[in-house]
């Protein structure tokens, strides 16, 4: 049976893992490859690596850090941030990523999703959708609007409609982040997740707002997520990967248990 994945997220700015409420009050959390290795050892099912300074500052992804990270962690690595073309994606995959996340650029140029999926396969293309709640009557039927550039720029796009369109273009997975909840520790936006997961067949990774293992359970059980992503709760050891999985397993969610967790 397919396991529900627990995915630590490494937000990277200037070569260091950071965490704040997006772009505000960034706190240094460590060296990316070092954290990646620790998480792999502790039972993380996958890693997501977001170069959060790449898109706003117009820089390319930090390929050397991607490669150092990939060499130390024998679990899958998704890299997002600063990918603007098929060539950018090729570079990131060749540096050691298994999947590439497209966000701001995909909204600006949806055909990029199709081209990347054609060349590398849908399974390598993750479309990351940052969404916020908006009042009804603004031309956004679901009440969830796509925002870009790290959550700072509204697009007028309906997040649910964009999710379906992205899958139609070839996205093999969606990473759905609630900007309202990100960094707030108030739990995932389960309604946002349910709206999106009910309309697509690709796996959806839930992101934004996790403060404890119970939130991870909610995202899967009530939101329909195939994977759950969190950053600060893992970086700061507020919840271990093993404890998170134990709570999920107790709630009847299939998870991968590794020997090191059993003995930990």
């Amino acid at each position: 049976m397919l396991r529900c994945r627990v995915i630590p997220c490494l937000d990277v700015a200037n070569g260091r893992v950071v965490k704040g409420t997006r772009f505000v009050d960034l706190v240094d959390e460590g060296d990316p490859p070092e954290l990646a290795e620790r998480y792999a050892r502790e039972g993380a099912d996958e890693l997501v690596f977001l170069d959060i300074t790449a898109a706003p500052e117009g820089r390319g992804t930090l390929l050397d850090i991607v490669e150092r990270t990939a060499r130390r962690a024998f679990i899958p690595l998704t890299v997002g941030g600063g990918v603007r073309s098929v060539e950018d994606m090729r570079d990131v995959l060749r540096a050691g990523a298994d999947k590439v996340g497209l966000n701001t650029r995909a909204v600006a140029e949806p055909d990029l999703v199709r081209r990347c999926a054609t060349v590398f396969g849908s399974q390598a293309v993750v479309v990351a959708i940052d969404a916020r709640r908006v009042a009804t009557g603004q031309g956004i039927p679901s009440g969830f609007e796509v925002v870009v550039n790290g959550g700072r720029e509204p697009t007028g796009l309906d997040a649910v409609g964009w999710a379906r369109r992205a899958v139609g273009l070839g996205a093999g997975e969606l990473l759905v982040t609630s900007i309202d909840r990100d960094g707030t520790k108030s739990g995932f936006d389960v309604e946002l997740l349910r709206e999106i997961t009910s309309g697509v067949t690709v796996p959806v990774i839930a992101s934004g707002g996790a403060a404890g293992a119970d939130h991870l359970v909610e995202a899967v059980r009530d939101g329909g997520a195939a994977a759950v992503l969190a950053a600060s709760i893992f970086h700061r050891r507020e919840v271990s990967i093993g404890d998170a999985k134990a709570v999920m397993a107790a709630a009847g969610i299939p998870v991968r248990m590794t020997t090191s967790e059993v003995t930990a």
Partner: protein, 217 residues
């Protein structure tokens, strides 16, 4: 590097992550190099064809680099071979994904994983052996490995003896094949943590062993 380290060539046909499989092979003690054209394969003990994505662009690139006949001959001679993900699917006759004709060393086709609750099939799932195989020595049956794919190889009934393991995602599908000194896996051992590294170690250890040792448990 000691002289008895197994020598491995990884076929590089353009796209995708080769860092992980090279690192896993090196961690298993192998001497690894990338082959970007057939003449680069050289005198090695094990040939690895990795890869993700669609069959047609892969076959086009393999053909352009002259790999198709040398890889077929390698397998026909029963020299040690590991195909991973697309590298397994390419062993069959053709792919429904884009109509590509593939290597045709195992009777069967690559078909969409219809009946799956989510596609692509992404994540860790259990691999159930139908018979013992030394590549899985020291790995628990039903151990979890990492998958990322939408298509699967479907062997013809005549190739049923090549089926080594299967996995369930809404439907059961073939997740490993083995015949002689050929092994093909649908999952990514290089991304499957300790179980995956153990499998890579086992295959590297088998690379210089005669075929009789590839079938013993």
């Amino acid at each position: 590097m000691t002289s008895d380290a197994a020598r491995v060539a990884v076929v590089d046909y353009g796209a995708g992550n080769l860092v992980s499989i090279e690192q896993a092979l090196a961690a298993a003690g192998a001497t690894v190099h990338r082959a970007v054209a057939a003449e680069d394969i050289g005198d090695v003990d094990l040939l690895v064809v990795p890869g993700v994505g669609a069959a047609l662009p892969a076959m086009t690139r393999l053909a352009a680099a002259g790999f198709v006949e040398p890889v077929r001959a390698w397998i026909a001679d029963d020299r040690p071979f590991l195909g991973i993900c697309l590298g397994l699917q390419l062993l069959f006759d053709g792919s429904d994904e884009d109509g590509a004709r593939t290597l045709g060393v195992l009777p069967g086709r690559t078909v969409r994983l219809d009946g799956a609750p989510t596609l692509p099939h992404i994540g860790w799932n259990q691999v159930s052996l139908r018979r013992p195989h030394p590549a899985f020595a020291g790995i628990a049956d039903d151990a979890d490995f990492y998958f990322v794919h939408s298509y699967v190889g479907r062997p013809d009934p005549t190739a049923g003896d090549a089926v080594l393991a299967d996995t369930e995602h809404g439907v059961r599908f073939v997740s490993a094949v083995a015949r002689g000194r050929l092994l093909g896996v649908q999952f990514h051992p290089e991304r499957s943590g300790e179980s995956g590294l153990r499998l890579v170690e086992n295959v590297v250890a088998l690379a210089r062993r005669p075929v009789v040792e590839w079938s013993a448990a």
